[in-house]
Every structure is written in C-alpha cells, then in structure tokens.
C-alpha cells in the first residue's frame, strides 16, 4: 500500500510540475511583486488550462500524500515522493527544451541518489 501510494504521487507530481513549468514559461517572468499586480497574475493563471490541470493533478498527489503520511514516517514519506525527480529532469530536457549541462546533470543525479538514500 505504501509503495502504491508512492507510485500515484510520483506520476501525478511529474505531470503536474511539467504542466506548471510550461504554463509559467509561457506566462513570462513575474517582475512586479506588489499585491495588486500579483492579484492580476493570479487572475490570469486561474483561467489557464495547463495551470488548472496541474492543480487538479496536485490535488490527487496531495490526497495520496495525506494517506501515505498516516501510515509512514515523514522522513520516509517526503523523500519517497521524489521518485518523480529523475523523470522530471529528463522531461525538462526533452519536452521543455531546457539545457541540462553536465554540471546540472551531475548535480541532479547526486540529488536523486541522495533522495533515494534518504528514502531507505
């Protein structure tokens, strides 16, 4: 049951975060942090279908995460959700066309191995 929940969390999180990054790249850099301007950004984003889909998937992931926390330690639950980690870096390169330099790739790999060890 623990690992089934981890699988649901990983899949939903990966899809959600790719969609979110895609939407925010399309939106462009937020430069004005005054409350009114941020409200305007929020108003635009809640009508963006990528953002809506991503929030729906995050809700799925969150409910699965609550269920996982009720039967596992926090220091198991949180790192285990990071299975999505490797997937997201690969998809960021090929779907979002980000440049994953050797240094970034090595750093991401160290983080992934570290997260795996933390989940043991």
């Amino acid at each position: 049951m623990k690992w089934a929940l981890v699988a649901v969390i990983a899949a939903a999180t990966t899809a959600a975060e790719l969609m979110q990054s895609h939407a925010m790249k399309h939106h462009g850099e937020i430069r004005d942090f005054r409350p009114g301007a941020l409200g305007g950004v929020l108003a635009r984003l809640v009508r963006n279908r990528w953002v809506l889909a991503s929030v729906a998937l995050l809700a799925v992931s969150f409910c699965a995460f609550l269920a996982l926390l009720s039967e596992a330690d926090l220091s198991f639950a949180v790192p285990a959700t990071a299975l999505s980690y490797v997937l997201e870096t690969v998809f960021a390169k090929y779907l979002l066309k980000e440049r994953v330099s050797p240094r970034r790739g090595l750093g991401a790999a160290l983080v992934a191995v570290g997260v795996f060890l933390v989940a043991l």
Binding site: S21, L74, A108, V118
Partner: protein, 140 residues
C-alpha cells in the same frame, strides 16, 4: 546568454527560501496533524481531518509553497528549481529528527550529504536556458 542580473539572483534566492520554508514547515504541520491516525479514503474523513488546526496550517503553507514556486518557475528552469529546492528534503529529515523524534539512519544522513552537494552544483548553473515571453518590458 548573459549572466543574470544581481536583482534576478536576489529575487531567486528570496523566493527559493520562501518555497523551501513553506514546503518544509507545511509538511511538518501535516505530519503533526496526521501522526498515528488512519485516513480512510472518503470525503467525510478528509473533511474531518481538515478541521484539525495543524492540518489547516499545513495546507495554508502548502498553498504558499505552490504559488511561490510558480512565481519562481516564471523565470527559472524546472531543471534548476527542482534540484535547488530539494534542499527541503535535507531540512525535512533534520526537522523530523529534531521535532518529531523520528529515527534517522546512517544511510539517510549520507543521502542528506549527497543532496547538499547536488544542490551546490546545480545552484552554480544558469537560472534559465530557454527564452520565454516578456511581460512589462525591461531588459533580459
């Protein structure tokens, strides 16, 4: 690509700190509210859980986490934001140990070390490697 301006680096640091703090504290509060409690997968059970003040606080912080991370993603790569904000895992383990008295094995501490090294490496790479649309003018 030009080096990011000091202003961009500054707002990236501030927002990264907000993202990480909201995530770590949010998870700690959720865990406090849910510890040793079985959540049945039913709407009523989730509603009942939501009335727990720890859970409410945890959810509020996770909403802050979501919004601040979306702002960060508006100018930084996903493949930058993900590794860099993973320092949150390190803090989560430390918090779990210190405040929730969870056992942390030798392997987990080694993982903590690797994550920290990875974050340092990725933190030294450019914030963004793809062009994105501009809003409100200004130079890149």
């Amino acid at each position: 690509m030009r080096k990011p301006s000091a202003r961009l680096r500054f707002k990236t640091r501030v927002l990264t700190a907000v993202v990480v703090a909201a995530n770590v504290l949010g998870n700690v509060f959720l865990s406090l509210g849910l510890k040793n409690r079985i959540v049945h997968v039913s709407p009523a059970a989730f509603l009942e859980v939501l009335f727990n003040p720890w859970i409410t606080l945890g959810v509020a912080l996770l909403i802050l986490w979501l919004l601040s991370r979306m702002a960060l993603l508006s100018w930084a790569d996903l493949s930058y934001v993900l590794p860099v904000t993973s320092i949150g895992y390190v803090l989560t383990v430390v918090f779990g140990r210190v405040f929730l008295f969870e056992d942390v094995s030798w392997w987990r501490w080694l993982g903590v070390l690797l994550i920290t090294a990875g974050v340092a490496l990725v933190g030294a790479t450019p914030l963004r490697t793809v062009r994105r649309r501009m809003r409100q003018g200004g130079s890149r």
